[in-house]
Amino acid sequence: MKGTVQVEHLYKEFGGSGLFGKWGDKTPALEDINFTLEKGELAALVGESGSGKTTLGRCLLGLIKFESRKVKVNGYDIASLGGADEKAFRMSAQMVFQNPFSSLNPAFKARDALVEAIRVHDPSISREKANDEVEKLAALVQLPIDRLNEYPPSLSGGEKRRVVFARALATNPDFVVTDEPVSGLDQPIQAQLLDLMRKIQRRQNSTMLFISHDLRLVRFVATRVLVMHRGRIVEDAPAEIFFHQQGPSHPYSRELLESAFHPDQLFGPQVQQSHPERGSGGCSFRNRCKFTSTEMDQPCATMTPPLLEIKSNHRVACHWCRNQEADR
């Protein structure tokens, strides 16, 4: 059960805006999410900004409330966590947050942040022992020991990321969500950190959900790719198929892949797109979709395409893709 994730019919709606959600309407952030991860998988979660990636990560770690039929992570039922279970779960699942600027307390030296993380999970450990552990962790993420004595504001972006990473690894978790762990760094440093991430994940045989917007980087590490669009998973494919064999199926995934590897084609006159309102039914991608046509109008505009298996291990939510498969 360790290192597995099972999600069935997960929904998340943010209460309106303002303090305590008093004003405005509800914002649906996640709609009918279904997937499972096996132990040892490194699944990448990609999709445009605001599509719900961070929110999904936070739901899986039980950091925010949500509705679902079933969400089990490491064998724990997240919706009904409590008491000793909760504590054990928090040790076994960790998150590397999106913003390293705000997720490190500027008043604590890097070393203290790590000692803290170790001692929260195991209060019986002595300070010295914790300190030794910290140095081991630092070595694991290749952070020079002398940088441990700096305060976060004087660490460079790459160093901050390493500290955050080390903190997440402090408890030897079975499941880790890393939210854009390398964005904002330059390519050689990204490559190094991702390499490190994959090595650690393999060595500990843990399961990882790697949230990223850069498919060029995803290609280096992922074993599976989950694509999100406006709160739904629209494609779930093995990385092998996505990057090396026939490529992704969903029109949105195709567009993502295309723009990641041929960015120059995107420059040119920009047309403003209108986006379908949320909750208006139909496919959320239809206004941008190249494949939907007049005869496809019916299903695409009125019926949300369900996430269905088109080949073993490969699921897509698109009416057009389903027709294509049926025609074969």
Binding site: G50, Y151, S183, G184, A191, D264, Q273
Partner: protein, 350 residues
Amino acid sequence: MSDMALKVEGLTIYLEGRTGMRRVVNKVQMTVPMGHIYALLGESGSGKTCIVQTILGLHPGVPGVVSGTAEVLGLNVLEKLPKYVELDESSTPTAIRKDMHGWNRTIRDVWAPMMGSKVTLIPQDATTALSPFHTVGCLLQKAISNSGKQLGREELRKEALNWLRRMEMYDVESVSNRYVHELSGGMAQRVAIALALASEPRIVIADEPTTGLDATLRIQLIALMASMVKNRKATLFLVTHDMDAARILANEVAVLYAGSVVESGPVEKILDPTYKPKHPYTWFLLESERRLLQGAEMFKGSRSISPPDEGCPYIIHCPRAIERCGAERPTLTPEGDEHQIACWVEGDYR
């Protein structure tokens, strides 16, 4: 008024870390003509944010500017600073005073009238930098009023929503009623971009404005920034890792390595894929990009950690270093039309 939007000369910055004074920026020189788009490239930790923040009088640590001038719209913004650090003969820096009055004065006299209207900044970490006390709509309306446009309340509200649409957001009504912590990382970033453009400034300084955005959005937004800036003959100073954006949109580019500019000049000379870069570090940047796109084995690791104090900062990694490189620091020297390079070895690299 001068026709230079930004003019930085001999800018050297020391900062105080736990291990003493450290030089993070060294004799940087940049001139950005009005109406141009200037890109500053360089790896993380190379001092890009330090330069931007010093020019804007925003430095978080007690600033240790030693020398240099930075003119913004013809005004030397570093002029009123008392000397804070002194160098002895062996160039060891010592702190001589720790008061912040000079900075406060500069900020009050020079920056307060310009910031947010004539000059705007798109900060690197939008989520933490935007005010948590106002809704997105409210922030935007304020920025729009800063442009000096006289708009009624309803028009102002509409214009704010338009800005969100231009940033490719959906459900704009709902977004404009939210606070920054209720947005996703990329959305906060886009709000920051909108805020900087909405006040129709003369200069936009963008510190990695598109990190955390996917390829489509990233390019759309940079193109949008560029076209808005161009239409108003304003200036964009773009700090970025994004080679594509720099290549296609910028007029000039400077490559920063460990606090020093190693190559600068027109974009078509420096970033053209078929052009042979003259500086080995520029080659390294272009080559890392090429490898990423082709899925080839990547270079790994930071290059600008602890460069030597003397000689060329790139010497540790440079495959073509000669004896002189270890002894003397190369300075930027002209290589033909407006193209400058800091390297002792002549000729193309590879």
